[in-house]
């Protein structure tokens, strides 16, 4: 019997496996940021431990930092303290830091791949649930808690139970105006926000194979929103081409050896998965969420479900509490829903490809008067590239605010918060209650759908604008 991609990567990293105990899994690359790492360094200090392989950990600043000013003296004191603490910790423990004052900084899941740290077949962890993003390269990548951050710093290992495997097949050609974001929102709507709990997804099929790395990262990024800690896509020429020449990518003969190995990282023909789900890509439409978990989404041409459409009492209760929070009604059509704020950015959709697509749509148009719109590039490199291409001018002239790199309004840790009751068309990954600010109401969608909402001041079917 063959092995799945996941099983190949898992097996190659099991350092020890005692009977009755979880596996000791070796971690190749560890990413950290200012918010979930300070207590981990504290745990090391308490026990008098050093970082075992400091060269395998990379730090940047993204979650709490303001996106308006790089001058730390002007920041709120708690964000400044977290950034200063990270600097001190990286210095004390010998860890590479991509600082806000340098050229390389941004959302950890945008910067890691940009730097070539993320490679096929690796195990990659970070104290952030969207670490699943890196699975787009055929890495086994998942989010961990702060105790586990300390474990990786101290031993480069984690104790892990082996998850089960779940194949998600997306075949067929995606329709005009249908993006990777719509694919993953459709998968989660179908399988539920907890449907992947205990599993690692492998995204397969012709629609996935045709996607760019940016699009694959969008898909894998939201694996956690479907309950799966990790999602993977087998590496191929698209993957190798993306990695080649990046600062931490293998060079020369090492590159050839690496690629030869990476080519073996596919699920064997005879491999079996614990579960499977198949979607016809050709039937998908642009998606919008209406509720307070990412599984509560419908095609833009659709309506919010009626309670009778749902399977059981718990789902109905979940619908009612979501709609009460969202100020929406069962059966209400999504098209036409007014929008107050548009946020384009995040580790889901803050890459240059996302900004290009959104800019194309807003070029020569104006953000509706009632709408506040902001674009937050995923990294300094994305920002610089966008400015080189003139995208910043397109956005600014249309009435968007053009910001510095960071997580920003995806989780509203900095001052970028949506007000209570405001409707946010957001390209981020979570529509939880208060996620984008206390009382804020998030509608998740693709970058082009969000751009279309900005221009119209309401939810529209972006395909009507593309025609």
């Amino acid at each position: 019997m063959g092995k799945t991609l996941f099983e190949k990567v898992w097996d190659a990293h099991v350092v020890a496996q005692d009977p009755g105990a979880p596996a000791v899994l070796y971690i190749d690359a560890h990413l950290i940021h200012e918010v979930t790492s300070p207590q981990a360094f504290g745990m090391l200090r308490e026990r008098g431990l050093k970082a075992y392989r400091p060269e395998r950990t990379f730090a940047t600043m993204d979650h709490a930092i303001p996106t308006r000013s790089l001058d730390i003296a002007l920041w709120p004191s708690d964000a400044a303290t977290q950034v200063r603490t990270l600097r001190q910790n990286c210095e004390d423990f010998g860890i590479t830091l991509w600082d806000i004052e340098g050229d390389v900084q941004g959302i950890v899941h945008v910067v890691g791949p940009e730097m070539g740290v993320t490679q096929p077949g690796m195990t990659i962890v970070c104290g952030d649930s969207h670490t699943s993003t890196h699975g787009a390269f055929g890495a086994l990548a998942f989010g961990i808690g702060t105790s586990e951050v300390a474990h990786v710093l101290a031993t480069q290992c984690l104790l892990q139970h082996k998850p089960k495997t779940f194949a998600i097949n997306v075949d067929g050609e995606l329709g005009f105006g249908v993006t990777a974001k719509d694919v993953i929102l459709a998968i989660i709507a179908k399988n539920g926000a907890a449907g992947g709990t205990g599993y690692v997804f492998e995204y397969r099929g012709s629609a996935i194979r045709k996607m760019s790395m940016a699009n694959r990262m969008t898909i894998c990024n939201m694996s956690i929103e479907g309950g799966a800690r990790a999602g993977m896509i087998a590496p191929d020429e698209t993957t190798f081409e993306y990695i080649k020449g990046r600062p931490y990518a293998p060079k020369g003969e090492e590159w050839d050896r690496a690629v030869a190995y990476w080519r073996t990282l596919v699920s064997d023909a005879g491999a079996t998965f614990d579960r499977e789900l198949t979607l016809d890509g050709a039937k998908l439409e642009p998606m919008v969420t209406y509720g307070t978990n990412p599984g509560q989404g419908v095609p833009v041409t659709g309506c919010i479900p009626m309670p009778d459409d749902l399977d059981d009492a718990a789902q109905r209760r979940s619908l009612f509490s979501a709609l009460e929070y969202m100020g929406l009604k069962p059966g209400q059509p999504m098209e036409g829903q007014p929008i107050d704020i548009v946020f384009i950015g995040s580790c889901t959709n803050g890459r240059i490809e996302d900004l290009r697509e959104a800019a194309k749509l807003v070029q020569g148009k104006r953000v509706a008067d009632s709408v506040q719109a902001l674009v937050v590039p995923g990294s300094k490199a994305v920002k610089a590239q966008a400015e080189k291409e003139g995208l910043d001018r397109i956005f600014s002239e249309a009435g968007f605010e053009w910001r510095g790199a960071g997580c920003s309004m995806c989780l509203a840790m900095n001052e970028d918060k949506a007000g209570a009751g405001k409707y946010v068309a957001s390209t981020s990954n979570r529509n939880f209650q208060g996620r984008q600010g206390p009382g804020a109401r998030s509608l998740l969608m693709s970058p082009i759908m969000a751009a279309a909402a900005a221009v119209n001041g309401r939810v529209v079917d972006v395909r009507d604008m593309l025609n």
């Binding site: 350092v15 977290q82 840790m413």
Partner: protein
């Protein structure tokens, strides 16, 4: 980490599904660089109005729930962000056990590393517990980790699953780090053969 063997306590009924870690502790409370005091932010947006006044209709604000050490909630508890602050908030507030039909993976791992006992029970049993505690908030529930049981005052007993390794860690109050450190030789051998 405090060992936990048996817990006999009152419970708080939280009738909600998909309680994500942003609800357990909103991101704006993650700006600390230590673990202390996280309980103040627990369920903040459900507990307090935008003016910071306690919301009388939220269950944790009901004086009868004061001192309860068990939280009972709906399916997919702890979904979303990996923030361990969610666990620190629950334990700092005084919870020692959470009973639901199911937990999100990262939250599950984080909880057991902090001595917060998680008892997954079938949904019917959880609904029954919610009914019972809502009807009589003074109901005392016994959670026995050694026997892996949740016992009600009438003697009714429900079994929950936990893997033997995690169970041992909780019973003894030890975390993973010492175990991982004991594997140093195997780690070095792996590093010598790994292509990365």
């Amino acid at each position: 980490m405090e060992p936990i063997q048996k817990l006999t306590a009152r419970a708080v009924p939280l009738r909600a599904e998909n309680v994500d870690t942003d609800q357990i502790i909103p991101a704006r409370f993650l700006t600390a660089v230590t673990k202390e005091g996280m309980g103040d932010g627990l369920f903040y947006s459900w507990r307090y109005t935008s003016e910071g006044e306690p919301k009388p209709d939220f269950v944790l604000n009901d004086p009868v729930c004061s001192g309860a050490e068990i939280l009972i909630a709906g399916r997919n508890f702890g979904s979303g962000s990996s923030r361990e602050h969610a666990v620190w908030a629950l334990t700092d507030y005084g919870f020692r056990c959470v009973i639901t039909p199911g937990f999100a993976d990262i939250f599950y791992n984080n909880s057991l590393k902090n001595g917060l006992l998680l008892a997954p029970l079938p949904e019917d049993a959880v609904n029954m517990l919610l009914d019972l505690v809502e009807e009589d908030p003074t109901t005392v529930i016994e959670v026995d980790l050694e026997r892996q049981t949740v016992t009600l005052p009438d003697g009714q007993e429900h079994h929950f699953e936990i893997d033997p390794f995690r169970k041992m860690c909780l019973l003894q109050g030890v975390d993973d780090l010492g175990y991982l450190q004991s594997k140093a030789e195997a780690v070095a051998a792996h590093e010598a053969r790994s292509p990365y």
